[in-house]
């Protein structure tokens, strides 16, 4: 399991995330102080073309939306208490179809909980962020490679789909320093939001991919209307006209069909057990898999990276196994219940801990135990 490292550095995930977002095309960071997202704020201060220190979380999302209306891709980093305050404004940005990335660094709740302890406690919050059951594309970082690749993907997805995107992570992923081979960092394509070209612009007239063409509010070729209320293609407030409701439905279709499904699936011939994990817990799962295979226990690993909209593919893959172990750093398996339903299923096992990281041994025990 030793890989040759050609460019070793001792770094943290926040550095990779920040650099990847900027290289992918994000140029504005709006931040306010919250643990454990502080490192992202510090790096942002050095690296984004525009850095705004907001007085609170609602202002953060609103300032981001203002910048997005000018064709910029803004980023912020927060944790649950901040995210909770942002929710109405995230709904606004989703309805206005403004691109932005919200990095959610999970910590132990409820409420202020323990700011310096990690967790995977916000799955249901993200799943339910948008009123009406719409989803925000949500990518979850499982290691330093993902800090780079998924951060870029989050920015690209926000721009391509004109939507807020959640980049999900947690305390240990963004604060722990690890040796990392910088030669693993691939080039990142810089995205630029292309403006509408043509005549008769309607701000919410969608193209084949269900995404309307964008124009910023600082050009004078066509009138732009951005609104958070139910609206027609022209962006004019409507009650519940068929055109306006179709437009609202399109927001779901756009994200459901346009969000790339990203995961790592490490099969093993003859394995009847599948371990499912994401976020920092994926690292414990990777170690558990290596150790189990060393001693002859067969098991496959599915690391989830696209969490929302929930990919049907995950359930399909899991259906081929007699035993599925889902490991999460939360009280009772939030994502497991979203994937497989809230009721007992003898085939599905949860490994759940609160206030600390899931240990590889705990995953191994769940795979290897009878029942």
């Amino acid at each position: 399991m030793t890989e040759t490292i050609t460019k070793p550095a001792l770094i943290d995930g926040s550095r990779l995330i920040t650099e990847a977002c900027v290289q992918a095309g994000a140029s504005v960071f709006v931040g306010y102080p919250i643990t454990p997202a502080n490192l992202l704020y510090s790096y942002a201060n050095r690296r984004y073309q525009v850095m705004m220190a907001a007085p609170d979380e609602i202002t953060t999302l609103q300032w981001m939306s203002g910048y997005a209306a000018l064709g910029k891709i803004p980023v912020t980093a927060t944790s649950f208490p901040g995210y909770a305050l942002m929710v109405e404004s995230i709904n606004m940005a989703q309805m206005m179809e403004l691109p932005m990335v919200i990095i959610l660094v999970q910590r132990l709740g409820p409420a202020t909980g323990t700011a310096t302890a990690g967790a995977n406690g916000d799955l249901n919050v993200i799943h339910g962020t948008i009123s009406g059951g719409f989803q925000l594309p949500t990518f979850c970082i499982s290691n330093f490679d993902d800090c780079w690749r998924l951060s870029a993907k989050a920015v690209h997805t926000a721009a391509r789909l004109r939507t807020p995107v959640v980049l999900l992570t947690s305390k240990e992923m963004v604060m722990t320093q690890m040796s990392y081979d910088l030669s693993r960092l691939e080039d990142i394509e810089k995205v630029e939001i292309k403006g509408f070209e043509g005549e008769n612009y309607l701000p919410y007239q969608a193209n084949g991919s269900h995404v309307p063409a964008f124009l910023p509010v600082n050009q004078k070729l066509h009138q732009v209307r951005l609104t958070a209320s139910t609206h027609n293609k022209a962006g004019i407030l409507q009650n519940t006209t068929p055109e306006a409701l179709d437009n609202t439905r399109r927001l779901k279709t756009k994200v459901d069909t346009g969000t790339e499904v990203v995961f790592d699936y490490d099969k093993q011939e003859g394995a009847d057990a599948l371990v499912i994990a994401f976020d920092i817990t994926a690292q414990a799962a990777r170690e558990a898999i290596v150790r189990m295979r060393e001693k002859g226990t067969k098991a496959a690993l599915l690391v989830l990276k696209t969490l929302f909209p929930i990919p049907e593919k995950y359930v399909q893959l899991a259906s081929g196994y007699g035993k599925v172990v889902v490991a999460e750093e939360n009280l009772d398996g939030q994502y497991r219940r979203l994937l497989f339903g809230p009721y007992h299923d003898h085939r599905i096992k949860g490994v759940n801990v609160m206030g600390r990281m899931v240990k590889p041994e705990e995953i191994m025990e769940a795979v290897e135990s009878n029942g």
């Binding site: 650099e19 790096y43 609103q62 981001m64 310096t116 604060m175 609104t227 170690e287 600390r356």
Partner: protein, 425 residues
């Protein structure tokens, strides 16, 4: 395209007699006087009756959340800067100015180039006439028919106190386009409060009351205060194009480790302010100089300067996946806080584990081998954690001793605390 601000200034969506129509018409007149093209204007409206003007506008329009219009407009205005030739105008009501008061103060404080027009009809008109923070004493509303309040806030004074360069209050009757034009032309943040009486709820609840009479009686007098505008934008930040990833981060492998097992775990347990986190990072870096892989995970309470500060360092000959703590092979305990933190680990430790503990601390119950050392006294408490790393180097003999000295000399601390401070006595 027609160059007027309103699609039809005679056909506005408000109740008969509503001052909101007048605000829209006066704004149009002001913009025309100043020579703005409609698409050089970004109109940001709030939630409330005034916000339905949106569809009647030929400008760009942004219609967001209740109370948040000034904040989203702030993002736009900051992005445009003062020399864009564009104009950001916010329309909001006294309800929105109540909900979003902080946004107004912050926008004024930052001098965002925009004009905020508060339509103060002294109640929430869209939801049935509830009082706002700007409803004056003696003005009745349907939900507060015999109002006795703590008095109202004065948005003009508040904005001025927050740093607004231009503030004014006008009665929303007659031709106030000159006042609107002056506010819109101001380079920087400006706010105009337009006083109105809601024809649907205000008139019914206050029969016979006249606007000018109300303004006189309540002290809501027409006013204007103007400061010399600051023309320049904040200077742009120039350092942003330096990548955070560079060869400066690389750790050179110049030494060879002597580890015989694949993984060694070290727990540093000390107090905040005594260098625990930086010492742990130093150890991880030294291990990499010796060809190992390393991780360093911090653990501390939310307080910054007090309480425990702990770090788990993993040294490995292979890839590290799980960076969490399991049983440490070594524990470096430098303070009483650290000892308390480490107690569960000490209790579970096996005889193969080694503990370096400051000589001033009571010896804990543990199967691990205990070594008492002057970690705090030898070089001062601020260097206690670093001292424990150098002593660990001697005791463990896992890494090249010269690598500690070389790596230390490369760090910032070397200029303040010479490396000899940490040599074995």
């Amino acid at each position: 395209m027609d160059n007027t601000f309103l699609i039809d200034s005679r056909d506005l969506p408000f109740c008969k007699g509503c001052g909101h129509s007048s605000v829209a018409q006066m704004t149009e007149k002001a913009l025309a006087k100043l020579g703005y093209h409609p698409l050089d204007v970004i109109m940001v409206t709030d939630i409330g009756c005034h916000g339905i003007i949106d569809k009647s506008l030929r400008t760009h329009t942004v219609h967001g959340l209740h109370g948040r219009s000034v904040a989203i407009a702030g993002g736009i205005a900051h992005g445009l800067g003062k020399k864009s030739g564009k104009k950001v105008i916010v329309f909001l009501g006294d309800g929105g100015a109540t909900i979003g008061l902080q946004h107004i103060l912050i926008a004024a404080h930052h001098n965002f180039p925009m004009t905020v027009v508060v339509h103060n009809n002294m109640l929430y008109g869209m939801t049935g006439g509830q009082p706002s923070e700007y409803t004056p004493d003696g003005f009745n509303t349907p939900t507060a028919p015999n109002r006795s309040s703590a008095g109202s806030l004065d948005i003009v004074q508040l904005a001025e106190a927050a740093g607004a360069g231009y503030v004014s209050r006008v009665a929303g009757i007659g031709d106030f386009s000159a006042e609107m034009a002056e506010a819109i032309a101001y380079e920087g943040f400006s706010l105009v409060e337009v006083m109105e009486i809601c024809p649907s709820y205000g008139v019914k609840s206050n029969p016979g009351m006249k606007l000018r009479q109300l303004m006189d009686e309540t002290g809501y007098l027409a006013t204007k205060k103007v400061k010399t505008p600051i023309h320049a934008d904040h200077p742009a930040y120039e350092g942003y194009n330096q990548s955070l990833i560079s060869d400066k981060l690389l750790v050179e492998q110049l030494f060879t480790h002597r580890m015989t097992k694949p993984t060694v775990r070290i727990l540093l347990a000390g107090s905040a302010g005594e260098g625990t986190q930086s010492a742990a990072e130093f150890l991880a870096r030294v291990a990499m100089c010796n060809g190992l892989q390393a991780s360093k995970k911090g653990h501390y309470p939310v307080t910054v300067g007090v309480g425990f500060s702990a770090a788990e360092v993993i040294l490995s000959t292979g890839t590290i996946y799980y960076s969490g703590g399991t049983k440490p092979d070594f524990m470096l305990i430098t303070s009483a806080d650290g000892l308390d933190y480490a107690r569960p680990h000490l209790a579970q430790a096996e005889s193969s584990a080694t503990v370096l503990i400051d000589e001033s601390l009571p010896l804990p119950e543990t199967k691990a081998k205990l070594i008492q050392l002057p970690l705090r006294a030898a070089a001062g408490v601020r260097n206690a954690a670093m001292m424990s790393i150098f002593r660990w180097a001697d005791v463990s003999q896992l890494l090249d001793s010269q690598s500690f000295i070389d790596e230390y000399q490369r760090g910032k601390l070397a200029a303040k605390v010479p490396v000899e401070t940490f040599s074995a006595k």
